[in-house]
Amino acid sequence: MRSLVHVLTALAVIGLAFWAYRENYRTQEALARADTLQSDIATARQRLRMLNAEWAYLNRPDRLMTLVEMNYDKLGLMPLQPHQFGRIDQVAYPPRDTGLTITNPVDVMNDGERP
């Protein structure tokens, strides 16, 4: 009986040691992964900042104004004028029977909603 207890204890110690060893390595691995992710996030954020700055630079009012003037023939854009405000009741309802028939039905994918 006594020797059985000794053997079981020894086995338990071996088992626990093995478990601790494995956990230790898994933790190291998780930390290394976390490090990689953090640096990826930092790189992505830095890139995002750069892109935001570039977006702001490309959308600066000066440049947009120049582009609008260059493309006046195609776009015909003008500064917003007071008379361009309208009221909702100034918009005519579309005539009831327009004779429009839908000839190109669109397939709707709903894969994402499937459970």
């Binding site: 930390l31 490090d35 900042r49 750069m50 702001a56 959308n59 600066r60 009012p61 007071p82």
Partner: protein
Amino acid sequence: MIRTPLRPLARILDARRKGENPDAIERENIRLRHEEMRDRARRRAEGRLLVLAGLFLAGFTVIGGQMAVLAQSDPSEPRAGAGATRILAQRADIVDRRGRVLATNFDTHSLYAQPQQMIDPEGAAAKLAEIFPDLDAARLARDFTGKRKFMWIRRTLSPEQKQAVHDIGEPGLLFGPREMRLYPNGRLAAHVLGGAGFGDEGVSAAEVIGVAGIEKALDARLRDPARAHAPLVLSLDLSVQAAMEKVLAGGMSIMNAKGAAGILMDAHSGEVVAISSLPDFDPNNRPAPPAEGAPDDSPLFNRAVQGVYELGSTAKTFTIAQALERGQVAPDTVINTESPMKWGRFTIRDFRDYGRELSVIKVLVKSSNVGTARIAVETGAERQQAFLKELGLLDPVPLEITEAGGSQPLLPPKWSELSTMTISYGHGLAISPLHLAAAYATVVGGGRRVTPTLLHDADRAPGPRVISEDTSATMRDLLRRVVTEGTASLAEVPGYAVAGKTGTADKPKSQGGGYHDDRVIATFAGMFPAHDPRYVIVVTLDEPVETSGSEPRRTAGWTAVPVAAEIIRRTAPLLGLRPEIEQAGAAAIRRTSN
């Protein structure tokens, strides 16, 4: 424990036999027992002290050891924590009220040299001078071959320049990472943003500090690491600001002015939606402050805030508002306006003679100096001073840019009765256009004190009451009539019911000694829509001349007013204001319903 009896029988008997006092034995035993007790107590106390000392020692050792470990260990980010996000930027972005970027950070590199590592110093110097035309090859070569061990060459590099330097292949030329401030919109809102430069510089990093404008005034907030991820939201609107600057620049060149300032401000919250001063500069490449000449000739000079001028008749609004508020006059009270008016050895004249008398309405509409001066004399110097102080016209404006400190109004050294009269029509008291905008917002926006601000904040507590709601409504009517039948008729913008007052003031000579005859500051201060003001606008032109007619015209009605009208026409739709068809008497109906 065995206790020694106090009166051991053997010794007592022995003593009695010898005829000694047996009590002495008892006392002796008591003494011995007490000594023993005392020794035991002392030993115990000493033991406790020792334990306590041991505990303290252990405690100090632990703390000291931990301190030593902390001091010795390398800093490291917490690796396991999920919230361990790195500090993104050392300086927070600045955005406009709709979140569009006004200032952000940009990663770049600086270039430095370690001449002792160089292989071909002369060749490197020549090639560097090729890449950067502003560098002098001979001087670089001298520096590279001399005794210097380290030198900065460029603070910031573009990626192309970096590649070009890289291609030289010189091991003594090194790059250090830099974060630099970028203003993507260039000159837009330059005077508000100010600019930024490098503070303490090291090879691997440099401090970015604000040098002017809001960058300097709110430097601590922008550099606070806890709030670096949250952008600073300004009250400016990028598209409105751009439209205003464009119109103002056009107006400045048409009117042949040497400078211009424009302010568009929310009439209730005091949030500045657009503020500009021309000429301006590029904050990405801020020019050096002028070493000589008048400060207002430099593009760095912010006319809207630092430009402290006598703003002329626009101040009449305040005189009349105060007289109405006190019940001293009613809008139809008749005032003696015989011109010229003599006061001691001083004469006050009107632009032209308006006859013997005018009603208060007409005094404002026709802009009669004499009439305003008479009203002010009746109000009195002290009351006038107190009222102007309540409006904030006697102190610098508390705007969140460093230049606001330079907006200290110029007051007469002694506030005499004559000063009262001249100040009543805008001479003798020099204030900035921003002062004027804030005071107009106070007068027409319902009578509560409005403090200008550049920060966007939805709930701001209303200021203390300066004039009553009724007086404010009357002033709106009067100012509307200045546009419909008075000096500011060109300010009419269909649909927006502009109200306001013009002001033309002769510029004082810079060396003192009176005023220029042919140099004026033309100002228009107004608001729209007149019955329920949403925005206050102030436009100031420096030395404008309108030359389309047979003779040059300099009055504000011909110069500042058309520019202001064009700004309103362009910006009001951008602000989401729908044009309204004005109905006669709409303002009166609104007032009684309040």
